[in-house]
Symmetry: none
Subunit: 542 residues, 2 copies
Amino acid sequence: MSRTEPAGTPLGDAFHVYDTTLRDGAQSEGISYSVADKLAVARQLDALGVGFIEGGWPGALPKDTEFFARAAAGELELRHAALVAFGSTRKAGVAVQDDAQVRALLDSAAPVVTLVAKSDRRHIERALRTDVDENCAMVADTVAFLRAEGRRVFLDAEHFFDGYRFDPDTALRVLDAAVTAGADVAVLCDTNGGMLPLGIAEVVGDVAARTGFRLGIHCQDDTSSAVANSVTAVQAGATHVQCTANGYGERTGNADLFAVVGNLVTKLGKPVLPDGALGELTRTSHALAELANLAPNTHQAYVGTSAFAHKAGLHASAIKVDPELYNHMNPVDVGNGQRVLVTEMAGRASVELKGTELGLDLAGRPDAVSSVVATVKEREAHGWSFEAADASLELLMRGALGEGGQAPFAVESYRVIVEHRPDGGLVAEATVRILHEGERLIATAEGNGPVNALDAALRKALTPSCPWLEHVELADYKVRILNRGGDEGHGTDAVTRVLLQATDGAGSWTTIGVHGNIVEASWLALVDMLAYAATRRQPAPA
Amino acid sequence: MSRTEPAGTPLGDAFHVYDTTLRDGAQSEGISYSVADKLAVARQLDALGVGFIEGGWPGALPKDTEFFARAAAGELELRHAALVAFGSTRKAGVAVQDDAQVRALLDSAAPVVTLVAKSDRRHIERALRTDVDENCAMVADTVAFLRAEGRRVFLDAEHFFDGYRFDPDTALRVLDAAVTAGADVAVLCDTNGGMLPLGIAEVVGDVAARTGFRLGIHCQDDTSSAVANSVTAVQAGATHVQCTANGYGERTGNADLFAVVGNLVTKLGKPVLPDGALGELTRTSHALAELANLAPNTHQAYVGTSAFAHKAGLHASAIKVDPELYNHMNPVDVGNGQRVLVTEMAGRASVELKGTELGLDLAGRPDAVSSVVATVKEREAHGWSFEAADASLELLMRGALGEGGQAPFAVESYRVIVEHRPDGGLVAEATVRILHEGERLIATAEGNGPVNALDAALRKALTPSCPWLEHVELADYKVRILNRGGDEGHGTDAVTRVLLQATDGAGSWTTIGVHGNIVEASWLALVDMLAYAATRRQPAPA
């Protein structure tokens, strides 16, 4: 069995940053993770250094069961976090060892289990249709059973704040049943999200004083206070905070992991992430938005692209002299940057830095830097976004330096036909005409969609002379429709941004294409994908 | 001159809901109001019943000068709110009556003026390059001058919280200069937005106790706590709260008016809006998003379309019985509504509930419910997602009930060609062959992409017999590539999910299509879009 405590987080077990993006976040309207997405989300969260990753509800949702199985089979290696399975206590009137859902929690092989239990008497009586005694027995039995099987157990006390206001004795009895049976954190959940900070501080302080239990906090954002409530609970004594990436969650969402962590570290001086991880906040937030297939929230605290953007004419010149007077913290600390709007510049320094990161020396070539800056600015104004497409950016830089970066062929033409036939059959067929090393190559191939057909036709034309292409594989394909706003276009008139991720066994890279026509956008990204694959075959000139 | 106090707000002058959307909100990256927009925003805010509307900075921004001129000329009649001009104190070393910007405040004819002043000694010395004595004289002179001209004056103490921490005496001297000269609210501004609720409560309580002044609060959202901070300040004694619609503002934005008002009314029991106005919260929020040309935030507290949407299968049956146990308040009170999202986790209860929401009575038709549940589960296992596609779900339900839901035509075949020509030209062309009311229709059209061409060809075929189609417009198009994980497929072999949003002027609806081929997925969503448009034309059978 894997570890039950966070490894390599600076405060160790003394403070828990607990992420529930894969369960609560997945309840968000508009999010639908595949199992592969879930594994990728967990890897991002672990790399950031959270202490616990709640993977889902095995036994209740087939996708979650599969997620835990694949994690246990070696698809998920965690460096910092311990993996957590979420589930409910045994049902009323059922022996715990006979409860299939409790069994599924064991079968998940997750070393930590978070059990959800009712702590509001009205829910116990009206939703569970049982009484407080049986509810407490359900909690105690299930905790003891899982502890006896070697699991660490946390208790999510659902609807705690509403329940505590309605009948504090029942609410406390439920916590007591769990902790007495061996749960070591009692997590107070504001499930309906109706709390405000001063109420949170009062209840958390009160419960801590009355029980002495280790307390956690779980807040929903229905009063737009989830982050503030979570941080306030920590100030009042909670040492375990449950959050989701970008605040994803049911209804208005949960407490945003990045804002909570940003506040804990920079405002309360709690080093809850590993060294250097704070600087990954912005990148991680954007990567997780990408995995959720949602546009990043530009105005998000700490990590939004607008979070340190200044528009006010009043301040513009003063900001240049004294930036620390006009930002609540240094944006670089969270991997973000200050931007002054209107005079916005795709900075030469950042292009140089990026070049260094990619192994290209742009420092002595001001002409190349100028050309890259100009191209990036011009393309980004038309919907390109190079931050997620390093390979396309590297090709651009190589081109500016005269160090390659061209595709291994020239395009004469292509044609794609998609036909839905009278017999119901569906065909996608592509023909490409390209010039490669002085030869004119023509190939036609079918695919299960227009891009797949184009990819197949290109490979058919090129593989005889470039056999290494067989190892290059298209691993992911993402499409975002950009509504350009105003009168520029909408619906299917909008601009399409395609990101392709490719691998050749030794590594992976991402390219971008943007166009009003989705097929042409995909084509541009495909061409970059092959150009970059060719670059990888030959070492860059010294 | 117009009135200086809010008219017709329930707490009169005892509590101020003060909106600064037209000044601070206009600083938001992505917002650019015309003067006509500003007048329309002010009318919406007044109809909602806020007490004060800050219209902008006359004399500093030409648009704002024009806004006040047109308001004074009769283009803006306010029923509830008093209009406020924002501006700075006289400059250092200039006599107040000679200061052009102070003069512009008078010229605006706004009955109330909010003056911004530095209250952080570092800003006084480093940005203003003057000393505390002169800064206080600037405040006192300007307040006294405007009071002598019959204006009511509020003071925005900029960077107050940072300044108070650094040098409380200076910060308090600035407030004292203003109030002694006749300002009647000292607004404590967290200009850099770095505060958290407990700090706000402490400082507001402290300043109230030390000065006895009437205090206001103005929060920015840089710690994701602006709403919580504002409400906490009110609990600590502030009786004037500055907000912007939907939290629009520089960087991460300001405190969201709708969440603050929702919290004050429903959580603190403060009737700060006129009778009946709370029910206009959702509509007003969406109207102001429209005026800002921004998509509404679906997850926004109180007013978001997801704010009361429930997805968890766990809760769906319980929600049916006891909705008040699962919402922090009644969504109808703020003009919003509860929604149940039908997903693969769905049971019969959530399908029935959803039917009721859509006006279809499934309760007496267990066969139809079974069929819908089975279809939803089967399709969602293949990548469909009905939670975001109410119109496709309604068609499915109508089909199961035998109440229509079919497309107004049958498809024989279609063909789409995308060609990148040797001359660089790019063409997308679609041909559709369909059967409509016994007639075989064939049409070919071009578009700027394959879906646009298909949409155009379908319309070309159908519009002669269905002229109402001209009012149906494709408003948004979303594509999500689903990597099915495991060996099921990846890259361009994956499944594509398309969501189409359409409008016909009277309303909007969303349909879905899923297929391995992006063109076929789009086609399926297009067909549903037209089927739903046809359904909207005829009332459902009784």
